[in-house]
Amino acid sequence: MLCKLIRAEQMKLKRSPVWLAFVILPIIPAVMGTLNYRFNIEILQSEWYSLWTQHSLFTAYFFLPVMIGIYCSYLMRMESNHHNWNRVLTAPVPRAMVYVAKLFCAVMMILLSEIWIGLLFLLSGKLVGMTAAPPLRELVIWCAFGTLGGAVMAGIQLLISLYIRSFALPVGLALAGGISGLLFLAKDLGHIWPYSLMAYGMNSNSPQELLATGYAQFVITCLVYLALIVLAGSLVIQRREL
């Protein structure tokens, strides 16, 4: 059932230009972050780790939250337009699964962006002539944890877009969330605030160090949040009036 719903979501997204933004967005930090790294090479001496900070810092704090906000708004907007909720909610499928399918699509897009960010990072490193071997293990962890943290953010954004029918307002809230995440990270509370989890997982601030709270705690926090969000989303969508 879930697979069929995911397939239906993918069909709805076909020929939609939104995915393009996720492809273009990481190119900007890749080019400009690399240029910045080149211009400040005497200060940024940790090679790959310094480059990762340049690539991922603003992406994780400001722009991936905004892009996730746009994508989630779009996923919900398709149903708000032309009374599509009526069709979706009267279809012979559990309503909760509709929310899960949408979340799955958003998470897939975040995962693809993270992989793309990782590839661009490796390519940029090679282009600037890094001598050390790339930190592949860490890169996989940063991208995987970034996706996990992003999934929590996507779940919340989907909930917000489910409530607020406007397209732009949830995007503004996503930015507010991203900024609140930055503030929580500054107060060493990044591991518990849902909007900090992506930046915390990507370890943009101090990539040389392992996560302060450990990997297991990060994964458990994300999974607990995801379970709560899916539960809340399912309840909201089940009680939704046609």
Partner: protein, 257 residues
């Protein structure tokens, strides 16, 4: 025009557009003004407070004001797309005038918020106890150099939101531009790119620089200096704004509804 503006006001009532813009402005102000002004550098911050703001605020502006423009323009234009209102609206008034009225209405909300933010920053400076008189000439130049890029970005967002029904397109384009603009803040070496990109104008028009700061000595040898105004960047920005307005207006007039 006054009647069209009144229509815009009536249509946007109850949609919390102004409140949303205000919330984003408050968020920008909190983000810009929070900080620890006490400690060993207290005197330095108090003596250089206004210049420090003129140095720091353009980066915050590059994050928040393009987003403010995106949200306001999208909300105002989306209400026409949602109900297929443009078909009806364009039989009642000239298309160009509708474009202008919507632009003027959204622009006034956005620019009012920018002015409010500027005033809040000045008042905060005074309340914090910044030493010396307010450098009004510099502050007014800063206001001009903040209002102009915000207005040009708003024209771009307004045109795109009105021309393309799918608001994701306008928001994605705006977010990408904003991202590029923010990165350009850190790349003064690419001044030509800052001048050519409307989102880069916040950086191109920044006229206060920080010198002598480093990781070890921090503020001990630091100081702010005036860099001079980049009038070429300002002229280019105005030209781009005019070009975007004419292009957007013409495309909207020719658009099949």
């Amino acid at each position: 025009m006054r009647r069209l503006l009144r229509c815009e006001y009536q249509k946007s009532r109850g949609r919390w557009i102004f409140l949303t813009a205000l919330a984003l402005t408050v968020m920008a102000a909190v983000f810009a003004l929070r900080g620890d002004y006490e400690g060993e550098n207290h005197l330095f911050f108090m003596e250089n407070g206004y210049l420090m703001y003129l140095y720091q605020l353009p980066m915050v502006n590059a994050i928040f004001f393009p987003l403010l423009g995106m949200v306001v323009a999208s909300r105002l234009c989306d209400l026409e797309h949602k109900g297929d209102n443009l078909k009806l609206l364009c039989t009642l008034a000239e298309k160009g005038r509708i474009f202008d009225a919507k632009l003027l209405y959204g622009l006034s909300i956005t620019l009012f918020c920018v002015c409010l933010y500027w005033a809040v920053c000045l008042i905060t400076g005074a309340l914090l106890g910044f030493i010396g008189p307010v450098p009004w000439k510099l502050e007014l130049m800063y206001l001009l150099f903040t209002l102009t890029p915000t207005a040009v970005i708003y024209v771009f967002q307004h045109s795109l939101s009105l021309l393309v029904k799918n608001q994701a397109v306008a928001l994605c384009a705006g977010a990408l531009g904003e991202f590029a603009g923010l990165f350009l803040m850190f790349l003064p070496q690419l001044q030509w790119l800052r001048r050519c990109l409307i989102w880069g104008a916040y950086g191109a028009l920044q006229f206060v620089g920080l010198f002598g700061w480093d990781k070890d000595t921090r503020w001990a040898n630091a100081g702010f200096e005036l860099l001079g105004y980049d009038w070429l960047a300002f002229a280019l920005l105005c030209l781009m704004g005019l070009g975007l307005y004419l292009l957007g207006r013409n495309l909207f007039i020719r658009k099949e509804l």
